[in-house]
C-alpha cells in the first residue's frame, strides 16, 4: 500500500515535534498505520493532517520535550518513548480528578496507617503489650478521625457529607468506602478515646459506673477488635477508589495498586508505632513494617514497569521525583528497622523513614495519575494499541475459520 518514501516525509510534514527526536519514523508509524479498517492521518486515502498554527506547534514541542523522555522504563519496550498519535490541539481528553492535594493524598496515607495500626493495636491488647496497644490505637483513632476531616473538607459541598450514606452502591468505591470509613473511624476513635480517658486522674480514681466502664479492658478490647475488623478494608479500598476511574495511570495498574496501598499502610502504621513504643514491645510493629515495606516496593515496581506507556508518568516529572524519594525512604527505613530497630534511636529513625516513604508513595501515585490525565497521549496510544490487538485477533480468527 504505502510507497517506499512514505514514513519519514509524512512524519516530517505532519508533526515537526517528532522528527527532532530522531526516532525512526517507520518504527513509531508502523503500529498505527497498518491497522486494518482505520484511516489515520498518514494512511493512504485520507492524507488530511492538522494545519497547525504556530502556537499549536510550540505547544506540541514543549510537551514533547517534557513528556517524551524515556524515563526509567525497560529498553526495547515499543510503547514507551515518543509515540505517534493525534489529538485535538494537544488538549486533554479525560478530565483530571478535582480532588484537592494535599487533602486526598494525605487521606490515602492516614487511611493506610490507621488501618494497619488498628490491627496491630488489637493484637497488642491480647498479647500483653499495653504500650504498643495504646500507641497503635491512638494512631488508628487519630488517623481515622483526621481522614474523615480531610474527606469532608475535600467535598464541594461539605455540609452535605451525610449524603454519602443515602445509598449503598457496590459499583462506587467511594460509597463502599463511606461504609468502611464510618464504622472504622467510630470504633477506632472510641478505642483511642478509651485509652486517653483511662489516663485522666478523675477517671482513674473514681469508682462510679461510668469511670469503671471506661477503664474496663473488656470494652476496650471489644471496640478495638470491631475497629480492626475494618482495618484491612480501610487500607485497601482507597486503591480501588483511584483505580476505578478513567485516569490512565490509575486504572491500568488497578489490580496491583491495592497491594501497594496495603503494603504502604503496614509500613506507615508499623513505622509510626515503632517511633512511639518502647523497643521491648515494638517487635511486631517492626516485623509488620518491614514486611509491608517489602510488599510496597515489589508491588510498586510492577506498577511502574508492567503497563507500557501508561507506566511512564510514574518515572517522569514531579511524580517521578516523589516516587524515587519514596523508594529511598522505604528501602532505607526497612533495612534500618530490621538491623537497628532494636535500639531506641534506630527504631525512631527507621520508623520515621518508613512513614515518610509511605506518604511519598501516596503523593507520587496521586501525581502520576493527574499527569497521565493531562496528556492525551496516555489515553489515545493505549486505546489504539487495544484496537489494533483486537483487529489482529479478529483477523487471526477469520484466517483460522477459513
Amino acid at each position: 500500500m504505502t510507497g517506499p518514501q512514505h514514513g519519514p516525509e509524512v512524519t516530517q510534514e505532519q508533526s515537526p515535534g517528532l522528527s527532532e527526536t530522531g526516532v525512526p519514523a517507520e518504527a513509531v508509524d508502523a503500529p498505527l498505520d497498518h491497522r486494518p479498517g482505520t484511516s489515520g492521518v498518514a494512511t493512504p486515502g485520507g492524507g488530511w493532517r492538522k494545519a497547525d498554527g504556530p502556537s499549536a506547534l510550540k505547544r506540541e514541542k514543549r510537551k514533547r520535550k517534557g513528556g517524551g523522555r524515556r524515563g526509567g522504563a525497560r529498553d526495547g519496550d515499543p510503547t514507551v518513548g515518543d509515540a505517534d498519535f493525534q489529538s485535538y490541539y494537544g488538549r486533554q481528553i479525560v478530565k483530571s480528578a478535582v480532588w484537592k492535594t494535599p487533602d486526598v493524598p494525605l487521606y490515602l496515607f492516614l487511611g493506610g496507617a490507621a488501618g494497619s495500626a488498628s490491627v496491630l493495636g488489637a493484637m497488642a491488647e491480647f498479647t500483653d503489650r499495653p504500650a504498643l496497644a495504646r500507641t497503635a490505637h491512638l494512631i488508628a483513632g487519630g488517623g481515622a478521625i483526621a481522614s474523615v476531616g480531610f474527606l469532608i473538607h475535600d467535598l464541594g459541598r461539605p455540609e452535605r457529607f451525610l449524603h454519602m450514606l443515602r445509598v449503598f452502591k457496590p459499583t462506587s468505591p467511594l460509597s463502599v468506602g463511606s461504609y468502611i470509613l464510618s464504622p472504622f473511624s467510630a470504633f477506632t476513635g472510641a478505642t483511642a478515646a478509651l485509652h486517653l480517658l483511662g489516663q485522666v486522674p478523675a477517671v482513674r480514681g473514681s469508682s462510679g459506673w461510668v469511670p469503671r466502664l471506661v477503664r474496663s479492658v473488656g470494652l476496650r478490647r471489644t471496640v478495638g477488635v470491631a475497629g480492626a475488623a475494618f482495618g484491612g478494608p480501610m487500607a485497601a479500598y482507597t486503591a480501588v477508589l483511584l483505580a476505578n476511574t478513567a485516569t490512565p495511570s490509575w486504572h491500568e495498574p488497578g489490580d496491583q495498586l491495592p497491594f501497594v496501598f496495603t503494603g504502604s499502610g503496614l509500613a506507615a502504621g508499623g513505622g509510626l508505632s515503632m517511633v512511639f513504643t518502647p523497643v521491648d514491645q515494638a517487635g511486631p510493629a517492626r516485623k509488620a513494617a518491614v514486611v509491608g515495606a517489602a510488599v510496597e516496593l515489589v508491588a510498586m515496581h510492577k506498577v511502574e514497569h508492567d503497563h507500557g506507556i501508561v507506566s511512564e508518568p510514574f518515572h517522569i516529572g514531579r511524580a517521578g521525583t516523589l516516587l524515587r524519594l519514596a523508594k529511598a525512604c522505604t528501602a532505607t527505613g526497612a533495612v534500618g528497622a530490621a538491623v537497628l530497630g532494636g535500639r531506641r534511636w534506630g527504631a525512631v529513625a527507621s520508623g520515621v523513614l518508613l512513614a515518610a516513604g509511605s506518604a511519598l508513595t501516596r503523593f507520587g501515585v496521586f501525581d502520576a495519575g493527574m499527569a497521565s490525565s493531562k496528556d492525551p497521549k496516555y489515553v489515545v496510544v493505549p486505546q489504539r494499541a487495544r484496537m489494533a490487538a483486537r483487529a489482529e485477533a479478529a483477523a487471526a480468527e477469520a484466517a483460522a475459520a477459513s
Binding site: G3, E9, G47, A97, M123, T171, A235, V240, K287
Partner: protein, 363 residues
C-alpha cells in the same frame, strides 16, 4: 413504579452478563422502570453537515442558564484559546455542548487543470494511478524549492485520493483545506461511569434512558469527574457541585426537543428515539460511503463498544481523537470486580502480616 435504582444496571438487574459491560437493549428497564416507560431517546450528531455556527452552544447556555467561562473552564473569564475558532475549548460544568473546529490541509495529488502544476514531472507520471518508480521523483529538481507540502503530494495514493470526497473542503493552489466541525455533548452511555461511581445517588437514569445529575443531592465529591471516559462532566469550582448535559430533561418531560437540537439550523444535531436515530445514521453512513467519503464512520453507535453504546452518537469524518474523543472508551466499572477481588486479597494480606508478626519469639 417499582424502586428505581440510582446505580447503573450493575448489581440491580437479573442479567448477570451485561450489568457492568456489554450491550443492554433496555437500559431504562434495567434501571428499574416499569415496562411502559418511554422509549430511550438520544442525539445523532451528523458532523458532515455541521457548519460550526455554535447555535447549539448558545441555545444550551440560554436554556440551562449556564455561566460564562473560558476555554479552560475558568468562570467569568473571557479569553481566546489561540488555537482555532474554538474558544469554548472543551465540555465542562458550564459548557454542555462544545463545537470542535479542526483545520486540516492536504496536498492535491492529481494534475487538476484548473489549479495547475501540470509540468511537474512527478505529477505527470503519477497520473496513471499507481505509484511505480516515479514515487522517487519527489526529490527531483522541479521540487527543489518544495517544502514538506510538495514532498507529501506523493505520499497519498492517487487512485484512492481521487475517490475521496469531503463536503467541507475548499482548494487553494496545490493545497486543499477542510474544516471538521463537530458538536460534542455528553454521550448518555448505556454503561455510564459517572452513574456507576456516584456515591450519593445524585446521578440517576431517567425514564428516557438518559443520565442526569440531581443538583439538590450532589455533594461535590467529584468522583464522576475522572470516572467519565470522555471527560464530559466537571465540577463548577465556586459552586462545588458537578454539572453536565441533561438532554434537557425539563424540556423532554414537557414533550419538547432539547434546546440544541431545536436550534441547529442544518439538522446536524438530530434528536429522537435512539433506535430510529441509529437506523437513520446507518442510512446516512451508507449514502456518504456511496458518494466516496471513505473516512466517514459512526462513533458511539456500536452497542458492543466499551460503554455498551452511547445515547448520543456521532458521524465523524476522521479518527475520533482528531475531534478530542477517545478512540476506544471503556467504562471503568468493567474492571471493578477484578479490582475488588484484588483489594480483598490485599486486605487479607494486611491482616495476615499484622497478625503473624505477633507470633514467635517475644521481644
Amino acid at each position: 413504579m417499582t424502586s428505581i435504582s440510582s446505580a447503573s444496571p450493575a448489581f440491580t438487574g437479573n442479567d448477570p452478563e451485561n450489568r457492568l459491560f456489554g450491550p443492554l437493549p433496555d437500559v431504562t428497564g434495567e434501571a428499574g422502570y416499569e415496562d411502559d416507560h418511554p422509549a430511550r431517546v438520544g442525539f445523532f450528531t451528523d458532523t458532515s453537515v455541521c457548519i460550526g455556527c455554535k447555535a447549539c452552544e448558545v441555545a444550551c447556555k440560554e436554556w440551562n442558564t449556564l455561566p460564562m467561562d473560558d476555554a479552560d473552564g475558568n468562570r467569568d473569564a473571557m479569553g481566546l484559546s489561540g488555537m482555532s475558532y474554538d474558544n469554548t475549548g472543551m465540555l465542562g460544568a458550564n459548557s454542555w455542548r462544545h463545537v470542535a473546529f479542526v483545520e486540516q490541509s492536504r496536498a492535491v495529488d492529481l494534475p487538476m487543470p484548473s489549479i495547475g502544476l501540470p509540468a511537474a514531472p512527478g505529477q505527470g507520471t503519477d497520473g496513471g494511478g499507481g505509484c511505480g518508480g516515479s514515487c522517487g521523483s519527489a526529490e527531483s529538481p522541479s521540487h527543489g524549492a518544495a517544502d514538506g507540502t510538495t514532498v507529501a503530494q506523493h505520499d497519498v495514493l492517487n487512485a484512492q485520493a481521487l475517490s475521496s470526497f469531503d463536503p467541507q473542503t475548499s482548494q487553494s493552489a496545490d493545497r486543499e483545506i477542510r474544516w471538521l466541525m463537530s458538536s460534542d455533548v455528553c454521550k448518555h452511555c448505556t454503561h455510564a461511569g459517572c452513574l456507576d461511581v456516584c456515591p450519593t445517588g445524585a446521578l440517576f437514569r431517567t425514564e428516557f434512558g438518559t443520565v442526569v445529575v440531581q443538583d439538590d443531592i450532589c455533594n461535590g465529591c467529584g468522583y464522576c469527574v475522572p470516572a467519565c471516559p470522555y471527560g464530559v462532566i466537571d465540577q463548577r469550582k465556586d459552586d462545588g457541585r458537578v454539572f453536565k448535559c441533561t438532554m434537557c430533561y425539563d424540556r423532554l418531560t414537557d414533550g419538547l426537543q432539547p434546546a440544541c437540537a431545536t436550534a441547529c439550523p442544518t439538522q446536524s444535531i438530530q434528536f429522537g428515539d435512539l433506535e430510529e436515530l441509529q437506523a437513520r445514521a446507518d442510512a446516512r453512513l451508507a449514502t456518504l460511503q456511496g458518494q466516496g467519503v471513505e473516512t466517514a464512520r459512526l462513533y458511539g453507535r456500536d452497542t458492543d463498544d466499551g460503554v455498551g453504546g452511547a445515547g448520543a452518537f456521532f458521524l465523524l469524518l476522521d479518527e475520533p481523537e482528531v475531534y478530542g474523543l477517545p478512540p476506544d472508551p471503556v467504562v471503568t466499572t468493567r474492571d471493578l470486580p477484578s479490582m475488588w477481588r484484588h483489594a480483598a486479597g490485599a486486605a487479607a494480606m494486611l491482616v495476615g502480616i499484622a497478625v503473624t508478626s505477633f507470633l514467635g519469639r517475644r521481644r
